[in-house]
Every structure is written in structure tokens, then in C-alpha cells.
Amino acid sequence: MMQVKLRLNGEDRQLRCEPGDTLLRALRREGCFSVRYGSDTGETGAAAVLLDGRLVSADVLLAAQADGHEVTTLESLNVATGELHPIQAAFVETGALQGGYSAGAMVLAAKALLERSPEPTDAEIRDALSGILDRETGYAKVVEAVRRAATALRGEKPGPLDPPILEPIGLEAALAIRPPADSTPDAPLALPRMVLSPDVGHTAVVGKAEPKVEGLRLAKGNAAFADDIELRAMLHAKLLTSPYAHARIVAVDDSKARALSGVHEVLHHFNTPHVRYASGGQSWPNPYPYDQVSFDDKVRYVGDRVAAVAADTPETAEEACTLIDVTYEVLPAALSASEATGDGAPVIHDETDSVGIYDAARNLSHHIEGQTVSDEALEAAFASADHVFTQSFSVPAQQHTPIEPHAVVGWLDEDERLVLRSSTQVPFHLRRMVAPLVGREVKEIRVVKPRLGGGFGSKQEMVTEDVVGLLVLATRRPVSMVFNREQEFISSRTRHAQSLTFRTGVMSDGTLVAQDLTVLADTGAYGTHGFTVQSLTGARGLSSYNCPAKRYRCDVAYTNRPVAGAFRGYGAPQAFFALESHLDDVAAAIGLDPIELRRKNWVRTGDRLDIVPRLGERGGVEDVSEEDLPVVTSCGTERCVAEGVRAIGWQRRDDPSWRQPDDRPNIRRGIGLALCMQGSGIPFVDMGACSIKMNDDASFNLLAGAADLGTGADTIFAQIAAEVLGVRASDIIVLSGDTDVTPFDKGAYASSTTYISGMAVKRAAEAARARIVERAGRLLGIEEEWVELRDRRAWAPDGHSVPLEDIALNALHTEDQEQIMGIASHWSPDSPAPFGAQFAEVEVDVETGEVTVTKLVMAVDCGVPINPLTASGQVEGGMIQSLGYGLTEEIVLDGQGRPLNAAFGPYWIFRADDTPPTEVIFVQTMEHSGPFGAKSVGEIPIDGVAPAVRNAVRNATGVAIDTLPLTPERVWRALQGR
């Protein structure tokens, strides 16, 4: 132990530290929870603080190195309860905080910058933020927040944050625009542009850029995240993971680990229950296969669980992991789907007790088929086509990389019920799924979802909670477990890698007559989400365009690779990369404009989506009647394309002087397009529920089962309820995702929250409203149907009104007393699709193969965005995540299955200073089945960038690349071969 003397947030302090303690560790021990773990060596910047006024990363600085220095954390700005510093306020107003996990680092970076440069340029702002990774926002709003903060700190008044309204343009008119070759892209916009629909009525709160309801707690760095609590006698858990891609665990000797002072429990195969399960957080009954156990006698990938230790300190737990003696019998491994499904491949799931594996001997977790016509009719359609094209694509395993890794703190409450405070997207599924694994009943478990620092589907998986539950029950002590960054990369989940082949029959005029999609997918060591993700690949690959004959065939293979699971887009990004690349090439091959070919075939309002109900394990032409096919109820595709064409300056792609600038001979420019669609929840399955109660001051507690993972769900719930109840969004106190307190919700996935859970909120608010208007009618002396609620009052048609507060007091205290409340749930037989048109402008350096994306434009029809600010934040962040999928991101393993890039740096995600300008246009449509016309927006932005960039590269260079990501070397090699 040593003493470290420093000045912390203006106070002289002496900290007792070990030499190896990082400043991050020491500061969190002092209660500075705004300093957060994102990585061990500074790459995420989540732990950035000011050291003598300069931004430094506290995770790669020893506490001892700060001795004698001045350390400033975000907490230094938190001087008044309930109030924000102007920089914090700017971050909240602009929607710069989604998860807000790195808010402390960002606000401090802004503070340091603005102190030395009160009027910074965008480049300076982006440079100042460049060491703080944000997986959620796409940075546009963060940069805008710093701009606004600068304005405010200079004593000027920042401008309004109303989204600009665009005059709509028709597609023909947009295509007729001939932008000059030297036209520069518009300045990046932190606000979306809106194209309004006449079908959408007036609203007071819905449709407005309301600040997030949890803005204050995020901007102040308050203890809002799973790992931000410390309990008395809390233990720290660490996981020992497999060094082998495939091995049998013959024996485990934990005696040395147990003998280490401070170690409380060591769990492994030989001392834990053996219960088969599927880790994907999905509705009951969970889809097959049940091919995992908490600690198996076999490891199936490098990073698979072997043992877990709970100890007094993380250091001791980690030390103990190295003292566990494991005897492995190393087995041959299959490191690709083609290898695993080939002859003589090792059988990865040779156990006899797994349930629901499609064909374990052939390493197939699932097989999926679906077709709209018979095989004979399909071949006849191909035979009738003027042209038939076959093209194959390959897409890699991308990792979610939430900046907050999986974190869970578990304890036994005073009634000895197991409480799990977990960074989960699925609190209710988790409660049900973890119960049998820890040997407790559902009623003995409570799951609490705090704020999340990003999830993207990785936290729809139960990858830590059963371990913590078992450790809590074994030790009867609180236990905290946080994945380190390497584990987050390897031991959580990835996107499914796939090989896809499209065969397309098309007439010379561009009419599609036959589509045949064949997929081989890699689910990694376990089959979680294998069926549903790959079903969606078929659905999305074969729904965007009308075609009389469609077929889908898919094998999902086990491999000895990290486990694939749910990841934003859920099979759609793979499908759209193949489909939209393929159609671009088909159009070129038959001499059609890429927009013309698509327009000839794209689905419109009223069209039926014929492949979706036919996807299953049985395959064949199922007996689905026409009226049972889902109908497109609202579709803004054509208007989205028109807006995007105008915004990107589409026609420059045919201008040689623009494509090949005179002054930069090594540069070729291009513009590409991709269309996409997604769903809004899972029809007939997803259910959300909400309860609302009215308080004395006409505020309302809104309890929703839904799990806001940083997207803004809680905020739009407040807006929906406020709209119904005639109050301000700030009058709604939202609490969500606590299984003891809130009603059920399926959780945050499948783009369901706005559409399904939002509608439950609307219905619950309407139920409460019914009670309010009845009482208001009595107080106003009119029939209740004449009562209108707005501006926190109940109004009679003649202009008389009564404050809602009076109604609340009357109901709670004085007359015919009652708790005014409403509760409702909602499911839907529909899953209306949002549609999008994604455009990308690129520069390709033909000497090096480097692709630089210079602008991204996405026009989205998500119905009526409830909150254009949070919705556009989803689109901006999704585009940049998709840009990574297109250009840089791929988990790479060596020949033994060991990860080569399980760290930021070697695994590249975009940062503030290399993110291209993004522009978001919302094309309103009225979706009558959604709350106030809304459809989903969370996933569709992940679909289009990779193919749009790929098509832009082809436009620029003539080279078609069908493998992601488009690394410089891959592009260079393609250019060599052209």
C-alpha cells in the first residue's frame, strides 16, 4: 500500500493505493462513477479525466503517477442539485448522449477544449473527441453539443433545435437535377431534415425534439450503470476462458485457486448443475437448440467458459484464475462453416443431452427453407427470364462493441431473493431463463435493468448472469462481474458470418421473374438465435422487391468460432449487402439505371410480403392463403429515394470530371445507393405492457417493462403519455425494466419498442385519461366526451378549464377517492416495415486501395418519428456502425482459432475525427397501427451503408467487391485484377 497525494476536483486528497492500481480504479473507489471502464489500455477513452487540465486516460495511468497532480472528473461540474453546467446542458439538448456511458469523458474533453479555444472549428472539436469512442451516436450530435456549449459559454444564445422542414420533391424532378461537378456536400447536420405527410395531424409533444428524460443522470455521470454500485462485502468475479478452440475438459483441480487468500468460490463443470439452455433472450418457449450449459465438460471456441472465481478483489480473482489446473484433451477444430459442414469434420456438439439440434453429426444447428412456388415453377420462371445472374457474397463476424461491456451485480436481498442488476436488454426473459440455471423459481429472482452503455443485441444474451447468480448463491455475498474488453470481443456474441448466393432471373426491361437465395451461415460454437437470425436473412433478402417466384435455402453451421447471436439488423445487413450489391450489378449488366431497376420492382403500399410466412424448418410451398400474407400498410420508398437523390447530388456519379478530379490523379469518386427495410417487432409474439398512475401535482409515474438501452425509449414513452394526458414530457417520471416493479415487456430487440411498447404506453395513458376526463366532466359540469386535456388543464368547449392538479387532489384526497391510473398491454398481428434509401459518396485512392467515405445520406420512412432528435441519433449511429461493417470490422482468428484483434486498435471502429458527414432525412408516412403513426427506426440504419459504399466503389472504379469488409488491401487487389 502507498499514499497518493493529489488534488481531486479542487480538494487535497490522500488515497491509499496499491502500486498496480490504475487511476481509474482509485477514482471509482472515491465515488467518481463518471470515470468508467471501457478498456484496459486507453482505447475507448471512457475513463478519460483531466490531469493538470489535460485529457488523459485513467485506465492506462497508475494512480501513483497522478501523485502531486490535479485531477478533475465530471463530478467537479456537479455543484447544484438538479442543475447542469452549460456543457452538460448542451449535451442533453442536442441528443448527444444515447447510452451516455462516456459522458464524463466527453464533457471533460469539451471543457478542456473550450478553455483553450472558445470558438473551436469542427476539426478541432473532432480532434478533441477523437480519443473517446462512441458506438451509439455517430458523433454528429456530440460535435453539435460542443458547438452549442461554446456558444453558450461565450454568452451567446444557441439557435433553436427544430428540425428543418424540406419541400418534398418527386423522383423524376430529383433525377433531373444536374448538380455542378464542383458542388460540395452540405455541412453536416446534427438535426434531421423532415418531409412531412399531410396525413399526420397536429401534436403537442409527440414529434418534438424533447431532451431525454434521463439526460440529467447521464450528463452528470451519476451512478446509473450496472457496475456503478458498491455493496458491503461485495466480491468480484472473473471468468477463466478456454485457450483452445475445441477440447474436452478431463479434469479441473481448483485446490491452488481455493487456497489463495481472498478467494471465496471457484465454479466449473465438476461442481455446478448441468442444465441445457439457449442463451438468447427470446419469448417462451425459447427457440432450439438448447445446446449450452453454464459450465460444460467441453470447450468449443477460444473464449468459451471454463471456470469462474469470486474473490475479495478483481486482482485476486484474476490471480486465482491462473491457479486453476485444467486438464484438456485437445480436439481437432473446424474454423469455418464450409470446413465444419465438410466430410470428416470434428463433431462440435457430440453430447447426447442437447435438445433440438437439426443435425449434430453434420454440425448443422439449423436448416431453413421457404419458397413461394414449387421447385419446378421456380426453374420454369428462370427459364422464362431474359437474363439469369448468379453472384456470391461473403460477410464477416462483426462485434457489437458496446463501450460498456457486459456487467452484472448480484446479491441476495433481505428476503434472500436473488437480485440481478444487469446490463441486459431483456430483463423479463432473463428472469425466466436464469431461474432453472441457478435452481431458483422465477418468483425468487428480481432483475433490475439500470442505464445501458450500448447493447446492439449483445445484451439480448444471457452471458454473465447465470455465473453471477451461482456465485451469489454459493457465497451468499454480493458479486460483481464485468467483462474485460477482450472477453467482450470474444466471449459475448458477434454477428453471424455468412456466405450468400443470389440467383436472379430478370427480363430485359428490369422486371424480376425469379429470385433464389442460398445461405451458409456460421453460428459459432452455439446455436443461439441461429434460426431466427437466418430466417430474417431470408425474409429481408426476398421481401423488398416483388417477384413471382422466390426460394430461400439456408444451412446454419456450428464452428469452433466465437458465438454468433443477435446483432442490430438481425440477419438483414447480410441479406441487404448481397441483395443490393447484386441488383446494382444486374442493372449494370443489362444496361439499366440502378434506380430504374429497383423502381420497377420495389414493394409499394398494398403489396403483400409473400416469403415471410413460408420460412420454416419444413420448407416447401406451405399452404398460406393470400389474405394471410402480411401487407405493406405504409411505404415511403419512392419519396425516400427522391430526397436522397437530391441530397447526395446523385447525378454527379455520371459526370467524368467529378469522378476523376484533375488535380488528384490517384483519386476516383463515386456514389452508391442501397435500399432497405426492417420490421417493427415480431408479429403475434412480442408484447409490451405499461402502467401509469397520477400524483398530487398532476405528474405521472410511468412504469414500463421495456428496456431502454440508450436509444431514447423512455423519452418517447414520456412523450406518448404526455400527448395523451395533456401534460409536458417532463411531468412523466419513467421507470422501466424492473421485474418486481414494472409490468412485463419482451425487452429491447426486433425494433419492437416504439411500435409495441409505445402502443402499450399509449393505451395505458388512455386508460388513465378516461378516469381524468370523467372527473373533469363532473368538475366542469359537462359531459366527459366534451373534455379536452392540454397544457396541464382539462378544458370545456366554452373555454372554462380546471387544472389537472385540482383533479388529482380531488381524486386522491377529497371526493369519491381513487388512484387515477391506467394499465395496458399490447401485441400486434402486424410488423409494419420502415423503409430506407441509403446513399454513400466515396473517394477511392487507386494507388493504395483506400476507400474514404465523404458523405452518407439516409432518407428513412419510419412512419411518424415520435422524437426526431433521438430517432436521428439512431440513424446516425446505425450508419456509422454499418460503415464499420462495410470498411473495417471483422473478428479475425489465427489457425488455432485464437483471436488476432480482440481489442480496439486492431479491431477498428470509427472515431470522431474520421467519421464522414452524415445527413438524415425523415420522410413521414402515417402508419395507422403504430402509436401516433410511428414505425420502428432502431435497426434499419444498420442495413444500407455497407452495400451503398460497395456500390459507390464500383461506380468510382468499375471494380465489384463481394466480400466485406472493403479493406484497403482487398480493394487494391481487386484493382490489380481489373
Binding site: 502507498m2 496499491e18 502500486p19 498496480g20 484496459d40 489500455t41 486507453g42 477513452g45 478519460a48 490531469l51 489535460r54 485529457l55 488523459v56 486516460s57 492506462v60 495511468l61 497508475l62 501513483a64 503517477q65 501523485d67 502531486g68 474533453a109 480532434d127 478533441a128 477523437s130 480519443g131 478483481p314 486482482e315 484474476e318 474485460n484 474488453r485 477482450e486 494507388e847 493504395t848 483506400e850 473495417t888 479475425v892 488476432l900 484483434n901 486498435g905 486492431p906 477498428w908 470509427f910 472515431r911 475525427d913 474520421d914 479493406t967 484497403p968 488491401e969 487494391w972 487487389r973
Partner: protein, 281 residues
Amino acid sequence: MIPASFEYTRASSVGEAVRMLAAGGEDAKVLAGGHSLLPLMKLRMATPSLLVDVGRVRELSYVRDAGDSLAVGALTRHFDLSRDELVARHAPLLAAVAGQIGDPQVRHRGTIGGSIAHGDPASDLPAACLALGASFVAVGPSGERRIAAADFFTGFLETALAPGELLVEIVVPKATGAGWSFQKFNRRAQDWAIVGCAVVRDGSTRVALVNMGASPLRSPGAEQALAAGASVAEAAERACDGLEPPSDLNASAEYRRHLASVLVTRALAEAGGAPGQEASP
């Protein structure tokens, strides 16, 4: 990702640091900014028993005009180097390189001495020092010595520093008005170079490369070609003669060779100076 346990001690002068290192023996390591060493320790790729923190040896943070050269203290942070007026005037290459390293947090902590002493072939500052013809001053138990950059980098993460020696100063010959260029090819702004190239033309031409071998190195092929009056294109073609660049997940050796020749071409073009000027200062 927690380092093995170690002793920590803080030096307040060069002399004290040298004494502490000597007392700590083979397993003692110098801790400056920590951005190279701490990650290695967390991965347990380095397990020093003693860290000698020189972060408070204030006498080592400076940039001084030393007549024909600049003297840069080993503890000068990248951020300060990138903004120093003397450096901007007399060794602008060094300022440009320092300003492109990592991110603000790295530039605020990382030191030139740490970067040089680490000897990472993927680091930019060693290449800049090679191109500038710099030399390094080391202090050890037996006194002070000066090592030319060209003789300093001996292998992968290996340098001519003896155990117990502390790098204290970087001596950079003034290259006022010389042509220079730094070309960095990377996947993200400011990140590690996949390949980098630093060129200084001050009568002769020095071409240094990043990530093109086991250590930071100069390109003998390109330099000899230029000295013999070859064209830029010819020099670029010979840039990788005798080099063995690594293959890794960012680039194959073949692609690195290609990139190196592209970057050498661009660097020579930007640095200016026509072929044939080589011999006449």
C-alpha cells in the same frame, strides 16, 4: 488484464533514476508516460519487479536551441512537441509526426523518450528521428554517451540502450528550410501506421519507414538510388530492397511493399528537391 505485482518508486532527478535502476537490477523498468509499458504489463508481456517513475524528473522536459541542433528532453510530451515553436521552425517533421500520434490522451501522456526507447517498428517518432539524422543521449552508471539514431534500433523492441541506462535527450540537427514529408497510411485518422514514410532532404536524402521490418529503419535502397541520381520513381521502386516487412491482419508483406513504394513516391514529391541535387548541399 491486471498487471503482476511490482514495486513502484519515483525519481526526482536523472542521477536518482539511474541509481534506482541500478539498484533494481535486470527487472527494473523506467516508467515515463506509461502508454507503451502499462499495456504490456497488463497483458503480462512485461513483468518488471520495479518501476522507476521518471514522470517528475522535470529537468527532462524541454526543447532547447543548441546551435546546429535542437536538444529535446526525453520527457517532452507528444502534445508539447507538436506545438513547440523551435521544433516547428527547425524540425517541422517532428512536430507533424508528434501531432498525428494516437489521440489527445496519448499525446498528453506519451513522451518522445518513451517512444524512442520502446523501439517499436510501428511507431512514428523513431522513423522521424531516423529521417532527421538525430542522435540520442543516454545516461548510465558509467556516465553519458551519445548514440546515432541509425545505430540505435537493433531489433524488435530492442535498442542499443544498455540495462540501467536512461535515455535523456534527443539531439536533432536543425533542418531549417529542408524539404520534408511524413506520409502515414492507416485505417483511421491518427492511428498506428500500417506503413509510414518520413523523408528529409537537406542536401542528401534520408528515407525512413514505419512498420517495414523488425525495427524502425531507413530504406537503403531508396537512399542509395537517390544518391546515385535516380528518379523518384526509380528510388520508390527500390525502397523495399533488402527489407522484410511483416504480414499481419492489416496488410500482407506484398501489400506493405507496394504501399511503401507509393508512400516513398509521395513523400519525395512533397519533400521536393530534384534528383541530381543529392551531392550538393
